[in-house]
Symmetry: D2
């Protein structure tokens, strides 16, 4: 089977069903790195009036999944720990940046930061993936 290029991978990521449902946009994908953003809407509130933790996590997870799969190696998230630092506000745009911290043969680790446009830290995650195969996406 022909290997997927990084451009083809970006194209595929941009057609993510769930990201589309929330309105998450993939702003950048490079090997071991991804940046995604999301406009916080009223429909994302939970019963206390705060933005649902699941929304913040979904944005972070989208960047994490894109970054960790950007090498063409099927990477499954097995553990993610998240610190919720400040509340998100309706009307602001949040950006999640995922960066590879460690790249191993089977296990790799990523750090994800979610910030508001003004730079306020909203959440920090650390995510671990298990890599099923070792096929690498060729650089373009």
């Amino acid at each position: 089977m022909k290997q997927e290029t990084l451009d083809e991978f970006r194209e595929r990521v941009s057609q993510d069903n769930f990201a589309h449902l929330l309105g998450i946009e993939m702003d950048e994908v490079r090997k071991g790195y991804a940046r995604a953003s999301l406009l916080i809407e009223n429909r994302f509130r939970n019963f206390s009036g705060y933005i649902h933790g699941g929304v913040i996590f979904s944005l972070a997870d989208q960047a994490f999944a894109a970054a960790s799969n950007s090498r063409g190696i099927l990477s499954l998230g097995i553990e993610v720990s998240t610190s919720f630092i400040s509340s998100a506000r309706v009307g602001e745009r949040l950006t999640a940046v995922a960066r590879q911290v460690h790249s191993g043969r089977r296990i790799s680790v990523y750090r994800i930061e979610v910030k508001s446009t003004s730079g306020r830290l909203v959440a920090i995650c650390r995510g671990t993936v298990y890599q099923k195969t070792r096929k690498e996406i060729p650089s373009q």
Copy 2:
């Protein structure tokens, strides 16, 4: 201000905007305990075809938030660590159960398990909340 009863709290939780968007149902809320469920749909897939981690997390977080706020004390999730154990499948119903593990004056800890109807473990979380106030919901 009149205190909210557990029935009023259940009513409020059931009007959660984001849970409504995904289709999460609150099946049971007691003090320190909550159970929520969600039918896994095609629109929850991510770009790899797997169900998005954000969907699993959102379900778990909904049970966690309901359980931790069930005492009438505003409880903010500050840390959640999640182990993703097995993939969710389109068409199955997942249930998340959140139970209090430790109840402190300011800090409490919950365990959340997400399972399929057949009992397959999909994810396990541990969540920590910071409690802002000490008002208790009166028992019914």
Copy 3:
């Protein structure tokens, strides 16, 4: 090479250098389960007078490592998240129990609880291991 039996494994675990330094005792090892205990001493205090988090973690990690390696499959701890619930006290004996929550081909997950003799919860951990090989310890 002859496979190690569970009895031989128990014998090897009991000769752990670091556990010996602290005084950790392995009370029970079965497949996917281990129990270890430690008498809390004055030399374990940190600069604030509390028992050092590293002592609590070491006890939990000892049970985790014994449980996860009890099948004869070399299992490396890759992620451990710990909730510190209550302080340990000099003179009390703490017991850590590690139980397998999920057993996968490459990734397995354990839950570890650290309690005082009186049943007070001191810490809870969740640990993830990566299994390098698939050799199983024969049952006795």
Copy 4:
């Protein structure tokens, strides 16, 4: 009661019982920052021959506790998640650096990295503290 200066705090940290038992040295303490180091010895091995996770964690926790208490506010570690990245080796010196990521009124978050002298990443932690009081250490 007279407030403790940062110098007095450093002095107190350097008399930590458990750090002394392992040989952990506090190399630097500033507000919201601390650096500690430890020579890896044979007595730190576990039953598999690897350096015990409790040793790595103890070093990280020492830096975390020093950094988080460096403001003169009693800070209790409530959650620490740790990724074990590579094995430590007997004879090498490990350094743990703890940095404040978020400083809140009651809850603060730290990132801790443990590296070998050659720069190899051994472990990464994220730790959360609950701050009991609001007294600040005066700057010198």
